[in-house]
Amino acid sequence: MKRIALLLALVFAVAGIASAQQTTAERWLHVRVECTDARGDTVRVNVPLSLAEKVLPAINHDRLHNGKVTFDGRMEGVDLRAVLQAVRDSRDGEFVTVQSRDNDVRVAKQDGNLIVHVRDNKGSKDGRVEVRVPMSVVNALLSTSGGNELDLVAGIRALAAHGDAELVSVKDNRNTVRVWVDSKNTSD
């Protein structure tokens, strides 16, 4: 009898741990846009990555098919896939640094992240854009065999496997935008 009770307790414990892991493993993509003027307009989006992972392959429309987005070989004369591959295969370092009267732009690979920083020197002095994409996500996006497509679903899976991360931060004198991933289902 004791053995049965012990076995049952063990089963429930394992089930509980599995359930807890399933709950905590859920990753959420958050978007928050806040207008800093008196009206205080806001946009908040909380999307579970598992939702995006399941929904994207079900959309077959325009350039999006089976979770992969197809793009023209060259966008504005830039071969996006070639650029991403070049970044992936290179060592850490700064790739682009532009300092002008209007903007400062910095593109770098650092600590396993692709980083893009833009600072506005013209309009709002404190305007800035910061984008940080884990290289694991870049690799996943490029994992498709198609020459001119990116695997969005693989990218989302890689993002889900990555820890908490702030992906995009934009700030100017009127708005702040944040895009980040964490394990909470609220953006507060």
């Binding site: 709950t23 859920e26 009206r39 205080g40 307009d41 806001t42 946009v43 908040r44 989006v45 909380n46 999307v47 579970p48 598992s50 939702l51 399941k54 929904v55 392959p57 079900a58 959309i59 077959n60 429309h61 289902n185 609220t186």
Partner: protein, 146 residues
Amino acid sequence: MILGKLALGAAGTVVLAGAWMANEGLVRVSVYEMPDARQPKLVNVIVPATLVPAVLHFVPDSALHGALEQARPWMPAAQAACEELAKLPDTELFEVRDNGEHVRIATRDGLLVIDVVSPRETVYVSFPLRTAWKVAREIQERGPSS
């Protein structure tokens, strides 16, 4: 005696039907318009969710003026979204506050809830995710040839 048995049968059927409908949940649409303070208009529609896919089944495509045709390609995505949302805890998926208007889309107790509040009107829509999934399936299964 026969009347009594008939009444009991009818009552049982009503109770069973009620329980079946209640189990599926309700679709609720409330619109509160305030064109001016003296004549506010309230429209409140509450329908058993079970009826929605069943009714849709009997509506001919022609009556929907091609709406099904346009919606059909998106139905697999809608089904996948409903399935995933049903697995997750209650959450606020989307919220916008803009110039006195407030739009909110959230999941609550297996329902998808849409709230729109503006100075002129308030709209509240809620429906079970399970019903949305069934409607999406119904639309998907009604291929162009059927």
